[in-house]
């Protein structure tokens, strides 16, 4: 086959255009998506809405925390350095340090709110994990694979919410009521809230949500316009923790 100069240039140009075209198409569509970024197409995006107004924080209720600790064998260390937390209380102004003084909810500010892993849309912990022991699932849950964790604690340094804890000591002797249905962890791994993915798989709500008698914790699918979480977020103003960091938390606090 003979190809004159003009035809050759034409074919070469068209091929280059085709390659460049698919590249930019990929970049514009999902295939070029960065690792760990959110999967917008999934039909589910789990989220939690907290109503601090309903939370019985003043009489010292810790129902949600106790239920979570029991469900997941979370150990109790009194020394702060060894603390392991999945869901815990944080004073309002420490949970929302950016809400200095201009907002009207002064009443709420003196109180504490339940805080947990935010299962961020753009989780910094996932980006820094060198062994992919933590990753973002299609349904939004930031999962932990305890089998793969090497205990480097990069994720703890990356998380702006302090939602991850390291096991400095063997947790087993410090578990109040061992639950044989969920494995414990060992010394040397990081752990955090898993949005009760093991319960969701059985069609049950998270343990903390089930335990809250006041209905202060609402869990649901953000992708479903008729879900309770969507209804609450439509009807009331809600805060997220440190939104300016661009992590895209999926835990909302009604004000």
């Amino acid at each position: 086959m003979s190809l004159d100069r003009r035809a050759f240039l034409g074919v070469a140009g068209l091929s280059a255009l085709a390659v460049a075209g698919t590249r930019s198409l990929d970049a514009l569509t999902r295939r070029g998506r960065a690792e760990g970024a959110s999967e917008a197409r999934a039909a589910t995006r789990w989220a939690m809405v907290v109503d601090p107004g309903k939370c019985r924080k003043d009489d010292g209720c810790t129902g949600c925390i106790a239920a979570c600790d029991r469900a997941h064998n979370v150990p109790h260390f009194s020394e702060r350095a060894h603390e392991v937390k999945w869901i815990w209380r944080e004073p309002f102004d420490r949970a929302f340090p950016d809400h200095g003084g201009s907002l009207p909810e002064d009443a709420a500010r003196s109180q504490s709110v339940p805080v947990l892993c935010n299962h961020c849309d753009n989780p910094p912990c996932v980006r820094v994990c060198p062994v992919q022991a933590t990753w973002k699932r299609a349904d939004g849950i930031v999962m932990m694979d305890y089998h793969r964790c090497i205990g480097c604690r990069y994720c703890m340094a990356a998380c702006p919410y302090g939602a991850r804890s390291f096991n400095w000591l063997d947790p087993r002797p410090r578990i109040k009521e061992p639950n044989p249905e969920f494995p414990t962890r060992t010394k040397g791994v990081v752990e955090k809230c898993n949005f009760c993915e093991e319960r969701l798989a059985l069609g049950r709500p998270p343990a903390c949500v089930e335990a809250c008698t006041e209905g202060a914790l609402v869990f649901g699918n953000l992708k479903d316009p008729r879900s309770e979480v969507r209804r609450l977020l439509r009807s009331r103003h809600a805060l997220r923790r440190k939104p300016e960091l661009g992590t895209g938390p999926n835990v909302y606090y009604l004000v």
Binding site: W135, R137, M143, D145, Y146, H147, R172, P173, P178, P180, P183, T184, R185, T186, A201
Partner: protein
Amino acid sequence: MNDRGLILGGLLLFVGLITLPVWYNVAAGTPSRPPELKLPAQGKDPFGTAEYMRASHMSLLVAWRDEVVRGGERTVVGRDGKTYAKSLTRTCMDCHSSRAEFCDRCHGYTSARVSCWDCHADRRLAEGSAR
């Protein structure tokens, strides 16, 4: 060539000393034998033949682990047509109910180190509130 007796005697002594552990075991009546495993009273293993399970149960468990935790696939259909949870403590230990007389006995014999129990509590142990 007058040292023949000495040399032969020395050799004999040497062989005797070096094989002492064998004679010791024969004398004590503890010759090497495979561990006696406590198998379930009846039935077959739903995930493979005994030979397969003996050789490959670790790969099976590690595959299950990844499938459940990383893939979200939680159940498997066994050879008997029943559906099982891909779980170490629930599925395997439901049939092989004595870890000490089955898993541990063979792992001890083969000096295999299995770290799973550091996290996966043996249900029967937990019920007896050991550890």
